[in-house]
Amino acid sequence: MLAVGLSLAFGIMGVLNLAHGSLAVLAAILYKKSLVLFPFSPWMFCVLATPVFLGFGFLLHLIIVAPFRNLSLSAGVVSSLIASLGLALILEDLFVWWQGWESISTNITFSTFNLMGLKIPGLRAILLGMATVTIGLSTLFLKKTDSGRSMRALAQDKEAASLYGINPGFTSMGALGLATILAGVAGIFYSSLYPLGPREGLDLTLKALFIVVAGGMGNLRGPAVAGLALGFIESFAGFLFTYTSTDTAVYSLLVAYLVLKRGGRRQ
């Protein structure tokens, strides 16, 4: 889900948003803090927090997209990359100040069930289903709705889309809002599986970027397949070598892929 949001942001606006993972961490912190006041279920929280994350997306648009609208594509990508890295670093320190060094764990529990003799953990099965539904809904949204079609038109040709009456600022704001909501939902459920450190935002973003780069930028099905591949790579690297070698394996593949696929190409 993280990668799908990132892919949406890059495909439509040409923004490599390095603060994407930090937004997931923010969602996990907000959910944990809200549990002290009201015992929301994660589903209820996701619904209630949607407008808040949409707002964060609009705010993010003002910081990392709007100022670079008139730059060329390459200058715009680099500027938004630097601005979003700056934002990610600010957020990381704010998270440590707000929540301390303690990892965030939301402890959502679902019972294990049997499927043809196989014991399947309920939470993981639900998350798999949720990711599939989210990716399906996002694809439907992009293909079947007017707003989605506007986003795709903007991704293909900004100037031609403007001539057809599409407002580039408003449409890209909507796309970033949607990407931020996806990051928020991913953060809440990720923290139920693995404890999420306040400084892990950049790590999450880089892994999502691996998925996006490998799956194809601006495309939603590719990242889903690449995400599964990443899961396999991480599991096998952890099993064959050590737990710490999983990151080395993932980032080595990211760099190798970039060098091999993008190195010889005119960008």
Partner: protein, 304 residues
Amino acid sequence: MKPWELFFSIIILMALMLSSALFTKGYAGIFIFSLIINGTMAVSYDIPGRSLGLISLGHAVFFGLGAYCFGIATSNGLSFFPAIILSVILSFFGSLMLTFLLAGLKHGYYSLATLGILIIFQRLFETLESITGGSAGLYIPETISKLHCNLLAAFLLLVTAGCHVLFSRSRWGLYSKETEASEEGAEAVGIPTRTVKVLCLLTAAIPACMAGVLHLARNSHVSPASGFSLTLSITALLASRIVPVKGILGPLLGVLLITAAEEIIWTKFEGFNHAWFGLILLFAALYQGIDFKRREKISAASEN
């Protein structure tokens, strides 16, 4: 470079060389040494940054590589000068390999790949515990005095500044500017763009490796977090970009500003040093956007 820029650059370099000889101990000694090391990193970063327009988020990879080569050589019983020679040779081949890999990438992909490589090295050196000491890092005994270390660092900064000036004035510097403007155009007129990029990146990598060697020689300790540090990479990037003056004066003034501000933040706002870097990065990027719009308005007005 204009004559006044060269004049002020020489003044700053001379002041740093003199301070490195005068202040060797205590807080002043550490501050001057970190100014010189950050200066070397920023001036070396500026070589490909300015001429090829590449934004690296992993310049500290070369710093860490140099420091670890020297550390491993010293831990295995080599004395200072043989260890330095060995680490220069090893760092050269390491840097050559990395720059050859990165030379084909452009813009956002280059930045992303450099960040990825920085994290790979950080994690790899944490994993190879028997050679690198794991996350605790390497400790080495003092091999040379602090005064000699400071003087060598100041000499390294001077050589790096010289390389910057020579490279930008040489035909390779002109080739790299042409490559940045249009790679296809440069290739069409017979410029070997890949060789230009490798040479440019290598000219930046070697001083960074040497800075790592001297950092370890003075502080006796390096860890994956301090050697392959994202903060150090960002310091070099910011120092090179924050003062809009061409030549070596820009990164030198940038380093004075950033290092002084960093010291104030460390002492006055503990725990917010990343946020501070983030804020400057954000403003630097926003300034680039505003500056572009301003230039566009000026060019539109002049056309009218």
